[in-house]
Amino acid sequence: MRLSPDSMMWWSWGWLHLNGTILFTWLVMAGLTLGSWLITRRLTNSAPISRGQHLVEAIIMMILSQLGDVTRQEPRRFLPFLGTLFLFIATCNLLAAVPWFEPPTGSLSTTTALALIVMVAVPVYGIKDTGIKVYLWNYLSPTPLMLPFNIIGELSRTLALAVRLFGNVMSGGMIGAILLILTPFLFPVLMQLFGLLTGLVQAYIFTILAAVFISAGLTSREIDEAIQP
């Protein structure tokens, strides 16, 4: 029984291994890029807007409103990073309904990579906003004794992000596989539906948590501006 797409080996050449995770990631990337290019070829402002443009505009507006609510700042500066995160994870998890496809987020490598990107993005946004001295001063903020706990907190919430997404997606696929052995038709279909729901919820949770972490690294500036009127 396969735990993740990592063990599907498609092509090997020396030390280069093309396993299922990489192949499905490339497929999702190609699909998203191709779909976006097809839709944004003909963007119009006037009345008859194409359906693709409607869909994309609706999605973007939803993401912007959610990010604005969570970070309480101008959401457009986070839109490229967090919007892509949400679209990628949501597409990966929703395509799990397609028969031959296995979501690449069901592999710990993919989710760890995404969590590491978020872990790097938090200091990048913070330093771009407040400067490196103020940002590093935050780590010593209540007292310098908190420094190890702040660092461990950063690492542990990154790990939690990775394992949460991996566990949800992997267990969804595995429950379906196990139930297929036991009871043929009805229950695996129901578990697939539930897997689609949890996949979408986990994509939303990952994005919102990334937004919360990034905005937590930025709030020092708001507090300083509030103290010095």
Partner: protein, 91 residues
């Protein structure tokens, strides 16, 4: 019993206990969170969107430990390194 049998018995029992006990905590915690969220919605119905969103984010964080227990149980059952090692020794 040889070591192969011991590894199998220990893995199966640990997987069962791990998942069984690991499901209690998150379920209780999420139930309490949900009850508080319903109270808040009853007190301030026009804040429902914020409350619901915060509820889902909080539940996802609380559920993490349950997911950790599930991952450990799955690894013990399906990708057990000790089992594979001893199996390669015997076979």
């Amino acid at each position: 019993m040889d070591s192969l049998t011991w590894v199998a018995v220990a893995s199966i029992i640990s997987a069962g206990i791990c998942m069984g006990i690991g499901a209690i905590g998150p379920a209780l915690g999420e139930g309490r969170a949900l009850a508080q969220a319903l109270n808040s919605i009853a007190q301030q119905p026009d804040e429902t969107n914020t409350i619901t969103r915060t509820l889902f984010v909080g539940m996802a964080m609380v559920e993490s430990t349950g997911i950790y227990a599930l991952v450990v149980a799955m690894i013990l059952l399906f990708a057990n390194p000790f089992w594979n090692y001893f199996l390669s020794k015997v076979g």
